[in-house]
Amino acid sequence: MIVAGFCFWRGDGLALDLSRLTPFPFALTVDRLSAFFLLLICAVGAPVALFSSSYVERHYSGAKADSMWLLLPLFLLSMVLVVTASTAFAFLFGWELMTLLSAGLILIDGDSERRRHNIFIYLLMMHAGAAAVIASFLLFLPHASSLDFTSMRAAAASMPAGLRTAIFLLSFVGFGTKAGIVPFHLWLPKAHPIAPSPVSALMSGVMLKTAIYGFVRFTFDFLGGGPIWWGYLVLLAGAVTGLLGILYALTEHDLKLLLAYSSVENIGIIYLGLGAALVFMANNAWAWAMVALVAALLHALNHALFKSLLFLGAGAVSDAAHTLDIELLGGLLKRMRVTGTAFLVGCCSIIGLPLFNGFVGEWMMLRSFVAGSELPAISCAIILPLMAGVLALIGGIAVACFAKVFGIAFLGRPRSLAAEQATEVAASMQVAMTLLAASCVMIGIMPGMMVSPLTVVARELLHTPTLPNAALSISHTLPLIAACVGVLMIVVAGFRRIKRVTPTWACGLPALDSRMQYSSAAFSKPLRKTFSRVYEADRTVDVLYANQPYFPKSILYRSVRTTSFERSLYRPAVDAIVNMATRLRKLQTGNMQVYLLYIFLALIALLIFMRFA
């Protein structure tokens, strides 16, 4: 952490070269970009480690605890390796390890059929993504003398457009798979929820960011931007990912699943920023490209902070109430003040409320979108500002989504005995969450302390002097607003002295019970109805009537949502492969004479080939 902060401020690379030992050049260099992500990793890693210290001892014992403590640091280390690597080999080494270790960590919680299936999909998609990444690295080869980053950077300039495009697309797909942009997000909601909470915090908070890092490395550092349609592609990906992510999140009742989907959404937001930056670069509007990039990176950091905070909160909740189904929670804020407050801060940040960190990134992003209208190309001038609308829509739905989460899970009456008997979690957990929450608020009120260093990072990537003042105004205003709101609240609080606790008005009924509260499904119903097109949910309502009609004994409502991507994209591919394999299998007839025939045919074919080659 110290190291990270140090070279983050000093910015000059400290490099470590182990090439002597390894068959391939294996070097680590920390330039500003890596330093920033290093900082991000540590900023999340430290609290998570603190959290897991007591989490592990509560949940695991013996071998499991040991393996947890073995794998968790290794996992962090692999991510550090990824962001600090300065040769392709080192990068890929860390990249693959990262996948494997995370899978191992997930496995610690057991290996039921479903879990294994999810991990299977996770690993498979990661492997495919890694293949794309490897390819995008190796595509540099004909032009770069070796695969260390400096020479790749140098080579990128001289490469033909086609190759550059290929590299861009490959890295887009490869890192997109890791980042979980639609339609490569399939694994994310499968893998994150089943991991132990600290691990899912790391996966969502940090691991996804390594993909962002990789993408930025390639597109901005190596390739230095490209034609305008790259930007549009990324923008499109971001918009679709963001919208679908938050819409899927809205319908979930499992806390961690919901958070996983909201990670998808936030990745989408980050990609929006990156896309805008690319568009600006294509138009040579470097200053604003810088704003967009800074916004994206800042949002990456913020998301790392509040998403890990939320996942830790989820972990605390499952500790206290032994469930993650928010339909069974409620009233937790009363019973777990610290956790609840921290979680509330997390919610406020993730929906981008001012005075919380989530807002700063989004504001800069919106600001840059508006600035897009100044661009000469009509298409940019229309598309970028409209993206602001998309971002606002995402934000609006996010408000609904997290109002639901917090309102149902932490407020009102407990909906189950477990929730009623929930108690505050261990101190170290509280401290961990408080730290994260504090950092969220701090960045939210004084964004300057993150924006200015990030400007330095962006400057290194874009080679432009500095941000336009228009984009910095926020960091001056927010403290004032914070002060203003604070003062007003204190003043107002003075008005209300007397307070009397009474039962909630029950429309004359004897008393309200928890069944009468609004459920999570009910809460999200209006929005689900509005966007029903997206969900393609198949619903079933079983009404069980007692002897007479009109007074049903029980009404069972089930709504199954399978994302259409799984059905329309992945299934067919897998089926195709399996079919091909089974056909090939038939060729292995078991009849030796046929085998001999194969040999003779091969021979004849080659002889013919020889005659014509």
Partner: protein
Amino acid sequence: MGLIELAAAKALASSAVFLFITLLMMASAKRISTCIVLFSIQSAIMAAEILAMAYAGKSVGAYIVAALVIAVKVVAIPYALFRIMKDLKASQDVASSTTGAQSVFMMAGLILLSFFAVAPYAKTLRLDEDLLAAAVALLLAGAFLMVSRKKALMQVIGLLVLENGIFVAALTTTYGMPLVIEIGIFFDLLMGVFLMGLFVFRIRDTFEHLDVSKLRRLRG
């Protein structure tokens, strides 16, 4: 010129034709024993050929090779095959998957094909065309027998014919390889036939039949 030269010249000139005849007869043969006999005849022809060459080229090594051929291919292997057949007490039928007529026609076709195939090489390498053709024909014929005959023994015989083809090729092109190599190849051949005989017995014991086309437990 003496009688022997005449004989040698005749042997060299006409051996190819004889080889083709043996092949055609093999194709039409219904019984395994016939094929074995034909094989030994075939080998004998080759032996004669080598003797002729040895006489023409005055090389001692060639005589030894000829002796080996007679010893191994004309006598030993056919004898071994007959023994195996006797011990197996299995039916004589070659169990062809093609009718006799079809086989003969295919064989003829293969012979023509071989002529067509070797033409360019024979020109460039200044080789005796029909002997080279014979070599290739033997190769193809062996392959054909292995693919089309279902009996394990016939596979062995097909393999031997194929081997003969290679042998003839070596002979016609380079007047034989270095002696040591030749001997080694013969040894291998002998071992191979021995082993295959062993396996034939094992097949018989474990499967109660010798139809290799029915050995289809392992697939996929």
